[in-house]
């Protein structure tokens, strides 16, 4: 196998659950984790005679996504029925959009590892309802159906086949993930299935214009799995072709345990969904005033915010990208900078350093940080005003993380305030020098290294609280006198 001879082509279909409080076509709640079938009303159950009524909020959310991806938000889009039988699909059809989606023809730029950026086309994004869940455990040879999720609003975002590696696919997926969270249209929770994707993967000999036969990898719900699934699938396809075989168009499932994809159904077995416009719903008509109102309500988007961070806080492109990758992190950073009274670079170092490390260690989200942005800002202020050294600040931060109170409280309680009174420091230096005749001799004999010994002794005597700069200066003065 020679990957140099083959080019990978990837397109993603991302299903993102919209963060509405009620369902797309009914008033039932969308809360995750409720008892089975307690959040399914007559409409969600598909009872005879019920009718769908479109939740206006989902239209607003889809329009936000469209504007944020430089897409056309269609003045007229149409809901269609996708017909197939499945036990957790109550009506025997899914209401989706087919020929006329609400969003089409846009793009997102992703950053590649080599620092360049690449434009990924967005073919379309359409609204649809989610199905319920089949529960195969605990029913002794039978299947339980939970329709709580039935009717949950989804935005399916279909990309152009513009990605050429698993890494690019992950970068794109992360970009979309950050965007929907920035826009506040999805919680992006991948464990709960709020953000998942299907990957269309094919390979072709480098230089060939037409695409190879693709397979569709279904329902992948983590960035890591997307990368693994695509890499496995690419190797599998290359092996098939190099072994003289042909890739068949089919749907495959990724098994994260075995790290492989398995055939689910071939194109011939695929359903004929018999799409047709849903006669129960009117076309969705959107006018310019609506679009302008949505545009006016858009938050600052990741790319714009990154540019502003570089400019306003004098951050490197790398730092700005890390800090703006998630809206919550960027919000935290800006609040901390404000509380610290400026100090963009120092704050960035702390947020990306000690704070991120602590969050990772305790497996917490930024929203769950025990140290608030305000509290961190106050701590950073104590560094910049010389109250404590950067080294001691780490100790204070740990105490704050463990609930010991504000930076000032910790500093007071633990007596960590830096000693910057030169007469006090001088006294300690005199005391140290008085019992170090031998070392003084060595130093004056030209052994400069011994200077560190004196510093260490002074810091030891002050439990690290002496202002290191002052210690250095005063020591030098004393030793170089005489």
């Amino acid at each position: 196998m020679n990957n140099m001879e083959w080019e990978t082509v990837i397109g993603l279909e991302i299903h993102t659950q919209l963060a509405t409080t009620s369902k797309i076509f009914s008033g039932a709640a969308t809360r995750y984790g409720a008892e089975p079938n307690t959040q399914a009303c007559a409409v969600d159950l598909g009872l005879p005679g019920v009718l769908p009524v479109l939740n206006a909020e989902v239209v607003r959310m889809a329009a936000k996504f469209g504007l944020a991806t430089h897409s056309t938000v269609a003045p007229r889009s149409v809901f269609a029925r996708k017909n197939y039988f499945y036990p957790d699909l109550p009506k025997g059809y899914q209401i989706s959009q087919y020929e006329l989606p609400i969003v089409h023809d846009g793009y997102l730029d992703i950053e590649l590892e080599d620092g360049t950026s690449k434009r990924i086309g967005i073919t379309r994004a359409h609204l649809e309802e989610d199905a319920g869940k089949s529960l195969h455990e605990d029913f002794h040879g039978m299947t339980g159906i939970d329709l709580n999720r039935a009717g949950t609003p989804l935005l399916e975002i279909v990309s152009e086949p513009d990605m050429r590696s698993a890494q690019e696919a992950v970068a794109y997926m992360k970009k979309v993930h950050a965007l929907v969270r920035y826009l506040g249209i999805s919680d992006g929770n991948m464990q709960e299935g709020s953000f998942r994707c299907d990957a269309n993967v094919s390979v072709r000999p480098r230089g060939q214009a037409e695409f190879g036969t693709r397979s569709e990898l279904k329902n992948i719900n983590s960035f890591r799995f997307v990368e693994q699934a695509i890499n496995y699938e690419v190797e599998r396809q290359i092996m098939v072709i190099e072994g003289g075989g042909k890739v068949v168009q089919e749907t495959r499932l990724f098994d994260p345990q075995k790290q492989e994809t398995r055939a689910m159904r071939s194109k011939e077995e695929a359903n004929d969904y018999r799409y047709f416009p849903d006669p129960d719903l009117l076309p969705v008509e959107i006018d310019a005033a609506f679009i302008e109102a949505v545009r006016a309500g858009l938050p600052e988007l990741p790319d714009a915010r990154k540019a502003r961070f570089i400019e306003q806080y004098e951050l490197s492109a790398y730092d700005a990208a890390v800090l703006t990758a998630a809206r919550e992190l960027a919000d935290y950073y800006e609040a901390a900078v404000a509380a610290a009274g400026g100090q963009g670079k120092l704050t960035a170092n702390w947020v990306m350093g000690d704070l991120s490390a602590a969050l990772n260690r305790d497996d917490r989200d930024i929203a769950e940080s025990p140290v608030s942005a305000q509290a961190l800002g106050e701590l950073l202020q104590r560094i910049s005003d010389g109250t404590i050294s950067g080294k001691l600040a780490k100790q204070v931060f740990e105490a704050m993380w463990n609930g010991a109170g504000s930076a000032d409280e910790v500093i007071d309680r633990q007596g960590l305030k830096q000693i910057s009174d030169s007469s006090a420091i001088e006294g300690i230096i005199d005391e140290v020098l008085s019992r170090s005749a031998k070392q003084i001799e060595q130093y004056r004999g030209g052994q400069d290294k011994v200077f560190g010994y004196f510093v260490g002794q002074v810091m030891k005597a002050t439990q690290g609280k002496a202002n290191p700069q002052q210690v250095n200066e005063l020591l030098k003065q004393k030793l170089d006198q005489s």
Binding site: L51, G92, L281
Partner: protein, 484 residues
């Protein structure tokens, strides 16, 4: 008491001439006496009816009564009624007590009307003779050997036989107007979107519309006033004020321009029916109307287009009947496919299956453009025909059906001939227009219906047109022998 129409009964109830309980008992007695022969009812809700009648009497005494308070009526068994079996004429829903009320059900309840039962119908409203019902055919009270029409045959026959003064129905291709014509009563299909479809079990969603069966246009005005109006639960219902139908009934017809499409008076029309319609038109001329010859050139495309659109939508609408959550479910299914195929195979009757198959085919990949899309284009042509005609005329008239009631079994094995019995009514559904059928004479002792189609939301004008005719004729007042 049972001889009186809804309007008269409303006056009597308010005057205290009789109570709603007395009236309701009288209707229940009529049902008890005649329904074994007619088979109009799938369910009679005697206890609930008497309870509702008591409540209505209390409202009447308290002076808190509207025109329908205390009036007994029947619902076509397609409207969901909470806690009451809602079968849609199918084995599939024989075990289905609806867990909620349709909007129409609730509106009539709020108006104080007293439901005495649910009427028989063609299975899932698919049929023109009431012979496809799981509960057996309904008989036409004018001749028990003949069909009452369909699909709302039970409602039509019940009103014609004076079992109830009024009943609800639904009309997808003529399912109110055709049985009204064959049973000699007044049937109104409102504009698509005028009456909420929420809780009305769907056959073909873009064509279905709830409406009324009454003895007169005046009665229909009272019933429709309670049923009509915007419903936020139905996205296709139209948010526009409901006209005061009763207030418009008496307007003179002087200057009314009646369009007579040449396509409705040609080959295939029974000569007796044709003569009755001519006589009715002459009556309208006497009332001051002008008769105008017009053309609806795409008329011949209506039936073929309908038999693509309606089955296509039904094939999708009926997918929810899968044996999983409600309705008929086979014992001990071997696997999922077995559960689906046997539940549906045994739960649905032959006509329903025929239409599901036709519709599935019409929507299939490779056929969609040729059938469904083409049929939708034809719909626009048909609507445009009407819109052009209404630039010239106020209403369009013709026969409701090509012939009077046919014999039970006569067309049961000939679906195409059956489908053609809706040839004059289907176009109004395809265009979404309101249409009325009123009694206009007899052929060999069987009623003939006059069909009146109006522009969008002209129900008030249609009812006015019907009412003025009924002031000078008594076809609508005739009662079939044995039911006087």
């Amino acid at each position: 008491m049972y001889r009186r129409g809804l309007t008269e009964l409303a006056v009597g109830l308010r005057a205290g001439d009789f109570s709603s309980v007395e009236l309701t008992r009288a209707c229940l007695d009529r049902v008890g006496r005649h329904d074994a022969a007619l088979n109009c009812f799938i369910t009679v809700t005697e206890a609930q009816a008497l309870e509702a009648a008591h409540a209505a009497d209390a409202r009447l005494r308290a002076g808190d009564a509207g025109p329908l308070t205390g009036i007994p009526f029947a619902h076509k068994d397609i409207f969901c009624t909470k806690g009451v079996k809602t079968s849609c004429g199918s084995r599939m829903l024989d075990n289905f007590p609806a867990p909620y009320d349709a909007t129409v059900t609730r509106r009539l309840q709020d108006a104080g009307a007293v439901m005495i039962g649910k009427t028989n119908m063609d299975e899932f409203a698919m049929g023109s003779s009431n012979e496809t019902s799981y509960y057996g055919p309904v008989k036409n009270p004018w001749d028990l050997a003949r069909v009452p029409g369909g699909s709302s045959g039970g409602s039509a026959a019940a009103v014609a036989a004076r079992l109830v003064p009024a009943a609800t129905g639904t009309d997808t291709g003529g399912s109110i107007r055709q049985p009204a014509a064959l049973c000699g009563i007044t049937g109104l299909k409102p504009t698509y979107g005028r009456v909420s479809r929420y809780g009305m079990i769907a056959f073909a969603s873009s064509l279905d519309q709830g409406g009324t069966f009454t003895r007169s246009a005046g009665d229909a005005a009272l019933l429709l006033a309670a049923m009509a109006g915007f419903d936020e639960r139905d996205s296709t219902s139209v948010d526009r004020p409901v006209d005061d139908y009763p207030a418009r009934l008496d307007a003179p017809l002087t200057g009314l321009r009646i369009g007579l499409p040449q396509e409705y008076f040609g080959a295939g029309l029974d000569t007796g029916v044709g003569a009755a319609i001519e006589a009715a038109l002459a009556e309208y001329a006497k009332l001051g109307a002008t008769l105008v010859d017009i053309s609806l050139p795409n008329t011949r495309l209506a039936v073929p287009a309908y038999y693509v659109v309606a089955p296509a939508e039904c094939s999708s609408n009926l997918s929810r009947f899968d044996g999983v959550r409600f309705g008929y479910r086979v014992e001990d299914p071997r696997d999922l496919t077995d559960l689906y195929t046997r539940s549906r195979g045994e739960g649905f009757g032959a006509e329903v299956k025929r239409r599901i198959l036709i519709g599935t085919y019409a929507l299939s990949a490779g056929y969609y453009d040729a059938y469904y899309l083409k049929a939708q284009q034809v719909r626009r042509l048909i609507r445009d025909d009407f819109l052009r005609a209404f630039e010239q005329v106020d209403v369009i008239m013709g026969p409701t059906t090509p012939s009077p009631a046919f014999r039970l079994g006569e067309k049961a094995d000939d679906p195409v001939s059956m489908y053609l019995s809706d040839i004059y009514t289907i176009a109004a559904n395809l265009a979404g227009l309101p249409a009325l059928s009123i009694p206009a004479g007899f052929v060999d002792g069987l009623p003939v219906g006059l069909h009146v189609v109006g522009g969008y939301f002209t129900e008030a004008q249609l009812l006015n047109t019907g009412h003025r005719y009924q002031q000078v004729t008594d076809w609508h007042a005739l009662i079939p022998a044995g039911y006087e």
